[in-house]
């Protein structure tokens, strides 16, 4: 009898562990659609770089570069699936998180080009009071301020109640209203236009504006106006299928000890909002960003508005000096300015960077994040290493 409690405890501890799903390699098969042009280009140093990331503790990395449209290369290293020991391919699909914000900004700029809105219109001209009620600054903010994170509207993700709630129910499917509720009745960060501070709430509202104008889900607008014209065949929005066949497994180093667990089924909370939820790969992101800054998606006047920068009152000393555009950031690097956006999802990270002085675009995506993994993929030191490998001979 005295061993009963102990026996039950041992049974529970070792019986309650859930194994990863079993997949065959064919589950991850992808038709690359990737057209590498590498004549005269020694891509081995970039391959060595991503191999080094994997050797440091990143489950898998895919990377793509475009040098002035004369060289294109996509490579990968590591695993798409640790449990089934399946190698990562550059054409595999993955979650790319907040990089979708650049797509959201493009959709808004395209609507302005069509005369359907103006960036300096108030948000309240397009969204009902029941959406904006309780969101401090939302009724006074303009669309431009949402795009530039200068609205001062509270970031729902920063709310500790949201952070603990999302961890408490890791497979919950969140609706936009539930997310906005975590920003309601919270004080604004500053008065509209007086500073800049990243807020996901801004981009939920931008998605709602697109839907109000186009009378269809914002991600259908993305597909019609951006994905299809650019032939981004590996890009889609999670709302249509949150965990599509072939998406690589994501892993988190939650306790900062390089002991990772599979987080693929953990819900992104942004399946139905325009602040995250994009599924793509490094190649498609590279095509998108390079085309954008080479003038193939939006008009020059729109592009100029997009890269009109606003500095925060206080820079973060642990990262590059950062300036806010419309759905894009400028960072000051050793190789001059770079235009970029990155994105985290639970178990995934992606970043896309364009160097205007060289007309060079580099994008990378990983299926691991948090803890120590971030040091190898998204820290300032990691980015400097990538940029140096990419541009040291330029």
């Amino acid at each position: 009898m005295k061993y009963l409690f102990l026996s039950i405890l041992i049974l529970v501890l070792f019986g309650a562990c859930e194994d990863d799903p079993v997949f065959e390699p064919s589950h991850y098969f992808c038709d690359s659609g990737i057209d590498n042009i590498t004549a005269g280009f020694d891509y081995q140093e970039l391959q060595d770089l991503i191999d080094e990331m994997v050797a440091s503790g990143v489950p898998g990395v895919m990377m793509s570069v475009n040098y002035d449209d004369t060289i294109r290369w996509s490579g990968s290293s590591g695993k798409a699936d640790l449990a089934n020991n399946i190698d990562l391919s550059p054409c595999n699909i993955t979650r790319v998180g907040s990089t979708v914000k650049t797509f959201t900004a493009i959709a808004i700029l395209l609507l302005q080009e069509e005369g359907k809105l103006h960036l300096d219109d108030l948000v309240s001209q397009y969204l009902d009071n029941n959406i904006l009620q309780g969101l401090a600054n939302a009724k006074q903010a303009s669309i431009r301020q949402l795009l530039q994170h200068s609205s001062g509207i509270y970031n729902y993700i920063a709310n500790p109640r949201f952070q603990t709630a999302s961890l408490n129910d890791l497979t919950k499917t969140w609706q936009p209203k539930e997310l906005l509720d975590y920003a309601r009745n919270e004080a604004a960060e500053f008065s509209p236009g007086s500073d800049v501070q990243y807020s996901n709430t801004n981009y939920i509202l931008l998605g709602k504006i697109i839907e109000a104008i186009e009378q269809k889900p914002f991600y259908e607008v993305f597909a019609e106006r951006i994905f299809k014209p650019l032939n981004l065949s590996n890009t889609r929005f999670a709302a249509t299928d949150p965990i599509p066949d072939g998406i690589i497994q994501g892993y988190i180093d939650l306790y900062s000890n390089l002991n990772v667990i599979n987080s693929t089924e953990y819900s992104g909370w942004d399946y139905f909002t325009a602040d995250g939820g994009l599924i793509s790969n490094s190649n498609d992101l590279n095509v998108f960003l390079h085309q954008l800054f080479n003038g193939y998606i939006i008009q020059e006047s729109s592009l100029n508005e997009m890269i009109t920068w606003k500095a925060p009152k206080k820079q973060d000393s642990e990262t590059f000096d950062t300036y806010y555009g419309l759905g894009i950031f400028r960072i000051d690097t050793d190789f001059g300015p770079a235009y970029m956006h990155s994105g985290d999802a639970i178990g995934y990270f992606a970043s896309m960077v364009y160097f205007p002085n060289y007309n060079v675009t580099i994008t990378w995506a990983t299926n691991g994040n948090y803890g120590k993994i971030d040091d190898f993929t998204q820290s300032k030191e990691a980015m400097e290493k990538i940029f140096k490998t990419l541009l040291k001979d330029k």
Binding site: V12, T164, N168, L170, N259
Partner: protein, 201 residues
Amino acid sequence: MRNYYYPLLLLMNWIMASNAYGQMPVKVSLFSEATSVPFDKVITTPIHPGVQLGTDFHWKESKHIKLFPSVNIGYMFHNKLFQGVYINGELGLDYKFSFGLNIKTALGIGYLHTFTTQQEFQFENGRYVSKRDRGNARIMPSFSVGVGYNLKKNESRSAEIFILHQTWLEYPYSPGFIPLMAHTNFHVGSKFYPFNKNNKK
């Protein structure tokens, strides 16, 4: 070496001298754990089940006030995130009303060992390998408030039913990322005196 054992000897002596063993209650509670901001909600869904077993020690008691140390062991299962076993010590304070109700509060500190509920991959020699989780050591300071009701209000050793809202911190959580995590446990339980000779007929 003698100093090392001294607190333990003192505790044993105190239990025996106060004849506490025969009067020690057994507390059993079922609870739901949640990662949650303290006192945000009474019960946060989904339910993450747990069970706790413990006892109280007699220390100071007056007509309305009862001050007592207690020890507990427990287990909790947070689906998709962790399961944990813990042992903690608490200093409890009850304010007793004459009609059997008492308001309860307790401050505690404990040791928690958590294990992932998923297959874990550990980075060794430049690659990830699937290995048995050795778990993570945590400390768990806690604070509880609640109410209890004595089933026999005129007996000092009456069986009691209680509910507790316990908030506790998990530290360290994710060093460099999330330093500590807040949790709440909502307990429903009972305290009774199976070793009290006066209860036996």
